[in-house]
């Protein structure tokens, strides 16, 4: 499946069996998170480590 990169605007290849939350890296250098909701799929830049992240 192809979606538009929110950073550079070019196509990003996403596997057909993608799971919501999966990370894909685009050739432009963007690290993107796949968000799968009822209406479809969107890509958003992955946030950096947050202050409350951990185990």
């Amino acid at each position: 499946m192809k979606f538009r990169c929110p950073i550079c605007g070019l196509d990003v290849e996403v596997p057909d069996d993608v799971i919501s939350g999966e990370i894909v890296e685009h050739e432009c250098g963007a690290v993107l998170e796949v968000i799968q909701y009822d209406g479809g799929i969107t890509l958003k830049p992955l946030e950096g480590v947050q202050e409350d992240w951990g185990e």
Binding site: G21, Y37, Q50, G54
Partner: protein, 284 residues
């Protein structure tokens, strides 16, 4: 009827993907609760959410606690429970519960002001370790070798916003042998442990610590299970220090533990064990 295991997560790490695949491989249905898209109407008669058991796997401690509040409020069985997650993400609470249950830990004191933090550090004796109330992966853990270093740490903390700036956890510095242990509990078993070896005193693998399989002796197994019982935990990653005189000391408890380095270095398929444990609960 097919057993349904939900996985609540915000970031899909190797661990979450492995758990989802393991649930499916065991013949159960995996329901994905990605916090990015999941909403719950607390006023609705039917939330639309149903599962036999939920694995709590959020990376954000805030989302882990709050999503468990919601899920348990809907009557769902969550691993780990709200009590366990809440204790584990709060280092003061963890230390208090472990003490109440006579679990050996490093000497730990809590102060609620900079002046009190200085006083308690003097009582413990330098060097001391200064920890935040909420933190992980070794983040914001500092070593103060003398009063001047403690002053610098406290002064920086004092002007940071948030709860971590108001409470000071001052702990003795344990002279561990270049490593510590990460011990895993799944149900009533201790299936695997690793040494985290590092030249640095902070040994988290997230910071470059090297994972090597460790043997679980009966003392370590007993201590890990007692710790799990104390915090009500079912699937835990427990950090253990080895003190040259006192032996094993429980340092921290992790309720949403990462384990890819453990799987890779030991060959123990923790994700399969956790998935099967969750499914076994649904069958009871």
């Amino acid at each position: 009827m097919v057993i349904k295991v939900a996985v609540a997560y915000d970031i899909l790490r190797w661990e979450e993907k492995a758990l989802i695949n393991a649930v499916r491989a065991a013949g159960a249905e995996a329901l994905l609760l990605h916090t990015e898209v999941t909403t719950v109407n607390l006023s609705s008669e039917d939330s639309g959410l149903s599962a036999d058991v939920v694995l709590q796997r959020c990376t954000s401690h805030t989302l882990a606690v709050e999503s468990t509040v919601v899920l348990e409020g809907l009557g769902l069985r969550v691993i780990n429970s709200l009590k366990t997650v809440s204790i584990a993400v709060d280092k003061v609470w963890t230390a208090s519960v472990l003490k109440a249950n006579k679990i050996p830990t490093p000497v730990t004191a809590v102060a609620f002001s900079p002046d009190a933090a200085f006083r308690v550090a003097e009582e413990l004796g330098y060097p001391v370790v200064v920890k935040p109330v909420n933190g992980s992966w070794g983040r914001m853990i500092c070593l103060a070798r003398d009063r001047e270093e403690l002053r610098a740490i406290i002064e920086h903390r004092r002007y940071l916003p948030g709860i971590n700036s108001k409470v000071y956890i001052i702990q003795e510095y344990v002279r561990k042998p270049g490593r510590d242990l990460r011990v895993f509990v799944v149900g009533d078993e201790v299936p695997v442990a690793i040494y985290r070896i590092s030249q640095h005193w902070i040994t988290n693998t997230a910071r470059g610590g090297r994972a090597v399989k460790a043997e679980v002796d009966s003392e370590l197994e007993d201590l890990a299970l007692r710790t799990a019982k104390a915090v009500g935990g079912e699937v835990l990653g427990i950090d253990v220090l080895e003190d040259p005189e006192r032996g094993y000391l429980i340092n921290e408890v992790n309720a949403m533990a990462e384990f890819k380095n453990t799987v890779r270095s030991t060959g123990c398929d923790l994700h399969v064990k956790i998935a099967k444990y969750a499914i076994s609960l649904a069958k009871r």
